[in-house]
Amino acid sequence: MSAVADTAPQAAAKERGARAPWAMTAPALMLFVGVLLIPLAMTVLLSFHDWGQYKGIEPVFILKNWHEIATDPYYAEMFWRTFRIAILTTLLTAVLGAPEAYILNRMSGRWKSFFLLVILGPLLISVVARTLGWALLFGGNNGLVNKLLMSLGVIRAPIPFMFTETGMVVALAHVMMPFMVLSVWAALQRLDPQIENAAMSLGAGPVTIVRRIVMPQIMPGCCRARSSCSRCRPAPLPRPRSSAAAGSRSRRRSPMTSSSTR
């Protein structure tokens, strides 16, 4: 009898315990729904409506826009370019950022804070100043990078950086680097400080330790960084050089793409 009476409040407490995480994440979840999910859903709805230069948005249900996206090579090219730049940027950031974070994590206190500030530096500078900086480094044939490479004898003729994909990937990797370093660093700090010693005591060399023990554990950090990199760059990227040509075609854009660049 008493056993039955005892289980009831226990069950209630268990239920409360199960609901607590939901209650605590609710505010953030609501913000997420309000500013991301609802606008996205509205954009999807909008994509089924018709649009004309003079008639504006017409609330009808058509598949014209989707058909256009699927068949027009203009969009295919644009999407492919977006993904290509995203992948190249992520690769470059990971290849440079992950070792950077690993070295940072092994530094002692004072140097660590100093270099953390250096890494976070780009985030503190306005995007205009940063862009101007890269323009000075890359600009035309007399850019600092080209001058340096030529004086070192690495290249004979200047490499075109400005308005090219190479330049964009380099500059974007620079912008995204702090996110990558911070994410990987956070993952590295969660690592058991003894885990490398444990692997070493079992006979693993330094390369094996990084490849088999450290890398698999910081991969989630890399993935997080990758997603935050692409979050910062949701707009599809038109071809950089022929902006005029893209502009002339922009009249044909569907409401969906034009709304995202607005």
């Binding site: 010693n197 444990a198 079992l202």
Partner: protein, 346 residues
Amino acid sequence: MAYLELDRVAKQFGAMTVVDGFSLAVGKGEFISFLGPSGCGKTTTLQMIAGFLDPTRGAIRLEGKDLTAIHPAKRGLGIVFQSYALFPHMTAAENVAFGLEMRNVPRSERAERVRTALAMVGLAGYEDRHPRRMSGGQQQRVALARALVIKPSVLLLDEPLSNLDAKLREEMQIELRQIQRTIGTTTILVTHDQNEAMSLSDRIVVMSQGRIEQIGTPQETYERPASAFVSQFLGKTNDFAATIDRTSAPARLTAGSWSVPAPAGLSGPVTVSVRPERIGFGDVGLSAKIVTRIFQGNHWLFQCDSECGPAIVIRQNDGQAQPSEGEAVRLVWRPEDMSVRAGAAA
């Protein structure tokens, strides 16, 4: 010849000496504990054996070969860390297999040895579990299996049981001892828990401030502590200030109103140490008053105010009537139950 030998090993960090003049000879198959409070250098010593730290001075030899010249990855020692340091992205079996993989053990033999190792620590059937889905005790067992499967020349245990709750710790102590006896691996355990050191080891190395205070069997270090530190650190003890008077014959050892024939050797101010469980209540002896009386099931704990300072007395709960709080008593003990050291009690 000793199996593992530490010869005047010292470690300095900058101007700070963490370990100094550490000499120890460990026999094959022996279970040794490094016991001491935190910061006494016991973990540093273990890390020097493991190779994660290099000794500033001194030599470490394994079967006569200089161990410090060998890279930690090649020393072939098994180590269980305080945090277990399991690889979280691998299953229990993969964790245990890692060391064998590094030794290029063929796949079929590897699987067999992993299964045997996990069965030995009582984890048969847990091969595919990830560490985060295991309890602290189970993780501890995986760590032990991982260290033992490579058939290490020496097993090093760095406070392996300190993260477990009291009941589980006791179970693991018994199991650890049984496993060590069965496979006969030379083992060094670092711990700050005197009960753990006493119940597990063949010999205890008591350390304080980077130096060895005493090396001996658990019984030796408990019954005949070499220093005040050892007697204080290994269990509770009572220190009474006393004097030995050799001017009149026969010489006598006197503390307050208590007096016995003096042991040979010492004279002047001395310290008399008696374990709480060796003190009884009698008619003649140190006069004292019971301050508090605490019942602890199988025994009574008395805190007394004696004429030579505070004293603790433990009496078995054997059904006899015990004195009550506030009562005046006499504390008595047999001469063989006390140890006498030169110098006044601190």
